[in-house]
Subunit: 408 residues, 2 copies
C-alpha cells in the first residue's frame, strides 16, 4: 500500500503579496478547489528548495528535489541543457548553453536572440556539429527557439572559463578567459568555436534567406553557463525505483534524464503558456501504472512570473487547478502526491527568488493537518513545518514504505 509517488512541480509558482490583488499572491487570489482539496486532506508545509534565502535556478532546484546536493554536483547548467536537448553527455564533458545571435560586420551584437529565431536552427546547428580542435571533440545542437548547446569532450577539460556571451547588446562577444590554469585548453576551444560559428553561419543559406525576408541573421553562437557533467547515481541505483518525468522544458528534462528518469512525451505539452495541462495529468496517471515515481513539471506559472504579469499568473493557477481535477478523480488510492514548486518567481521581482514554496503531501500515510487551502501563507501553518528541497524525496519515500532503516 502507498508505494507510488507523484510529484507535481508548478514551476515558479511561489510569489509575494500583490497590492492590486488586495495583498494576496497570485496563487492565493486564484480559484483553486482542487489544490485546496489536496491541501485540506493532506499535510502542508513550506520548503526552501536549496536553503533559506537562496535563489534556485530550475536546474539546481530540480537536482535538490531529486535528492542531489546541488552544491556538490552542479557547476553550470550546460551539461543539463545538453541532456535536455537529447545529446549524449558523459561524465567529464563540459557543456555550454548557447544563443543563436546576430552580429553586424563590426562583430557587434545587434540581437542576442537573432530576432527570436524559431525555424531552421537545426540546419544551422548541423553545420557546426561534430568538429575537432586540439584533440577536443566539439558537438553542437539546437534547443528550443534561439537556444542551442555546445558540448566539448576530451580528457582534462574544465568549466572554469568566462562567458563569451557578454549578456548585453551593442558590444562584441567577450573572449573566453580561463579562470584557472587547467581551463586554458577549454577556453581556446571555445574561442575557436565562436570564431568558426561566424565564419560558417554568416553565409549559410538559412541566413541568406532570413536577410532576404528582412529577418536578422543567426550568424554567431554565444556560449555561456559552462558546466562539467558530474557522475550522478540514478534514482534506480539510489532507491530501487523506476521513475519517469513529464516536462516540456529542456533544462528540466536534462536534469531528469541525468537522474535516470524515463522522459515521456505528451502531445500538446509544450512547456509554454499554451501547454495542455490536462493531457499532462492524464499522462502522469498512465505513467504511474508502469513507474514507481513520476515527476510532472508545469512551466507556465514561471513564465507569467518572469513577465511580471500577476493576472496571467493567477489565471495560470486556475488552469493548473483545473488540470489537477484529473488527479482528484483518478489518482490511485495508494499513491502519495506532492504538490509544490521548484522556486518562487514573484511578479514584482520578475525573476526567481529565495522565498520558500508551498508544499502539500496527500496520500494514505500522511498526518493531515488543519490547513484547508493551498497557498504560500496557509501552508506555512501546516504540520510539515519548514523543509528543504532535499528532504522531499526522503519524506515521500518514507511515506511510501521505500526506505531502509538506519540502525536497528
Amino acid at each position: 500500500m502507498g508505494e507510488g509517488i507523484l510529484v507535481v512541480i508548478c514551476d515558479g509558482l511561489g510569489d509575494r503579496p500583490v497590492r492590486a490583488l488586495k495583498g494576496a499572491s497570485p496563487l492565493e487570489a486564484a480559484t483553486r478547489p482542487n489544490m485546496n482539496h489536496f491541501a485540506g486532506k493532506g499535510a502542508c508545509g513550506i520548503m526552501d528548495i536549496i536553503s533559506p534565502g537562496v535563489r534556485p535556478g530550475s536546474d539546481t532546484a530540480h537536482l535538490a528535489i531529486l535528492g542531489f546536493d546541488p552544491y556538490k554536483v552542479y557547476t553550470g547548467r550546460g551539461p543539463f541543457e545538453a541532456m535536455g536537448v537529447g545529446m549524449e553527455v558523459r561524465p567529464g564533458d563540459v557543456a555550454f548553453r548557447c544563443n543563436f545571435s546576430s552580429v553586424n560586420e563590426n562583430m557587434e551584437i545587434v540581437d542576442r536572440r537573432a530576432g527570436r529565431i524559431r525555424e531552421r536552427t537545426g540546419e544551422l546547428a548541423r553545420a557546426l556539429d561534430d568538429w575537432e580542435f586540439e584533440g577536443v571533440k566539439v558537438f553542437f545542437k539546437e534547443g528550443t527557439e534561439h537556444r542551442g548547446v555546445l558540448l566539448l569532450r576530451a580528457e582534462g577539460l574544465s568549466p572554469l572559463v568566462s562567458d563569451p556571451d557578454p549578456h548585453e547588446e551593442g558590444v562584441r562577444p567577450h573572449e573566453c578567459v580561463p579562470k584557472a590554469p587547467e581551463a586554458a585548453l577549454t577556453a581556446r576551444v571555445v574561442n575557436a568555436f565562436v570564431k568558426r560559428s561566424y565564419e560558417i553561419l554568416r553565409d549559410h543559406p538559412v541566413n541568406r534567406d532570413r536577410i532576404k525576408a528582412g529577418q536578422k541573421p543567426a550568424n554567431i553562437i554565444l556560449p555561456r553557463g559552462a558546466g562539467i557533467m558530474p557522475h550522478l547515481p540514478s534514482i534506480k541505483e539510489r532507491f530501487g525505483m523506476s521513475s519517469a518525468a513529464l516536462a516540456g522544458v529542456a533544462l528540466v528534462k536534462g536534469i531528469c534524464r541525468v537522474a535516470g528518469m524515463e522522459l515521456l512525451e505528451v502531445k500538446g505539452a509544450t512547456g509554454g503558456l499554451d501547454t495542455d495541462m490536462g493531457a499532462k495529468m492524464e499522462a502522469a496517471l498512465e505513467a504511474l501504472e508502469g513507474h514507481d515515481m513520476v515527476l510532472v513539471n508545469i512551466k507556465a506559472a514561471d513564465l507569467a512570473g518572469h513577465d511580471g504579469d500577476f493576472r496571467m499568473k493567477a489565471n495560470v493557477v486556475k488552469r493548473i487547478d483545473k488540470a489537477l481535477g484529473v488527479l482528484r478523480k483518478g489518482l490511485p488510492r495508494d499513491v502519495h502526491l506532492a504538490l509544490t514548486a521548484d522556486h518562487s518567481t514573484p511578479c514584482c521581482a520578475k525573476d526567481h527568488t529565495g522565498d520558500p514554496v508551498p508544499l502539500a503531501i496527500f496520500g494514505p500515510n500522511v498526518r493531515p493537518d488543519n490547513v484547508r487551502s493551498f497557498g504560500e501563507r496557509s501552508c506555512a501553518q501546516g504540520g510539515l513545518g519548514r523543509l528543504r528541497g532535499m528532504d522531499l524525496l526522503p519524506v515521500l519515500l518514507d511515506l511510501a514504505g521505500r526506505t531502509e532503516k538506519f540502525g536497528a
Copy 2:
C-alpha cells in the same frame, strides 16, 4: 536554577492516523492528562530524529538524542548491544548481535530463535566465551531471551563483513564474506566461531536437557549486524554533566553506557509490555538528586507498534501517562523535562518510520506556546517548530544554563 535535565523517551511513540480511531493516532486517541499538562505548560514541536524521512533504529536514534552524529559514529549495532549486556568494549573492537538458533543434522536452520529460549543461555555462553583464533580474542555473552553478543578484539579488525545469519529459516547459515580486503581476518574468525559454536553447543548438557524436554536445542550461534566501536567522548567530557539512564532494553542501555551514563536498574522495569512504569519515574526523580541529567526509555509503545496493535498502543500511552503523574507531582521546579520519542513505529507500518515525533519541553525557562495537548499534530503547531534529534540536547543544555557562549 533550572539546572537539572530529564529526558523521557517513549520508544516508538509516533504514529499515523488510524481509521478505526476516527483518524486519530493511538497517542491522540488516548486519555493523557499528564502529557497534556506538560505540553500545555511547556513548549512543543516535532522532531526528525535523524533528518526528515530517515527511518532511525533505536540505536542511531539514541545516539542522535545524546548529541552524536550517527552518520559519523555508527557502523552497526553490535558494539552497542555488547555494551548493553555489560561486556567491556574498547574502541576498535568489532561486535555482532547474535541469536541462539537451532539447526538440524544437515545444518539447516529450523528455528532462528531456538524455540524462543529464555533459560540457561548463560551456561551456553560461558562455553563459548574467551577463545582465541589467529591472534584475535573472542568473547561471547548472552543477552535477553534468545539473544547474545559476539565480540572480537585485535588490531586491524573491520566491520565490513556479511551476516552469517541468513535472516530466514530452512537454509544453512551463510558464510561470512569480507566486503573489503581489510575485513578478511574478521570474516575468517567469524566463520571459525560459528563452526565452533555448533561443535560445542550440539552436545552441551543444556541442549541435551532441552531435547529431552521436547524443546529445540540452541545448538548454533548466528551473528549479524557487525559494527566497530567508535571512540565517543562521554557526556561528562562534552558537557561537564553527570548523567544516568533508566532503560530496560540492552541496545538502549548500550548506547547510554557508551555515552558515559550511569546505568540504573529499576525493580520491575523489564523493557517489556509488563514493565512497571511508575517505578521507573520514581527512580528517575531519585536519580535527579545525584545526577545532572537523567534519561528514561520506556519501550512498551514501540512493542505495540511493531505488533500493529493500535488499541494496545493507546492503552500503553494511558499507562505511560499515569506513570508521568509521578513527575507531575514530584518533578523539582528547577528541572527541565523533555517528553518525546526516539522514532515513530506506526501500527500500519509495524516498523520504524521516518515520521517526525512529538516533543514537549517543560520547565522554568521555556517559552510556553498555545499547544494544549501532546500529540503528533498538536505539537506540530508548537513554538519549537521542527527540530532534529541532535538539536535536543543543546536546547536543553541552554535552557538549563549549561552551555558555553560561542563567540564574544
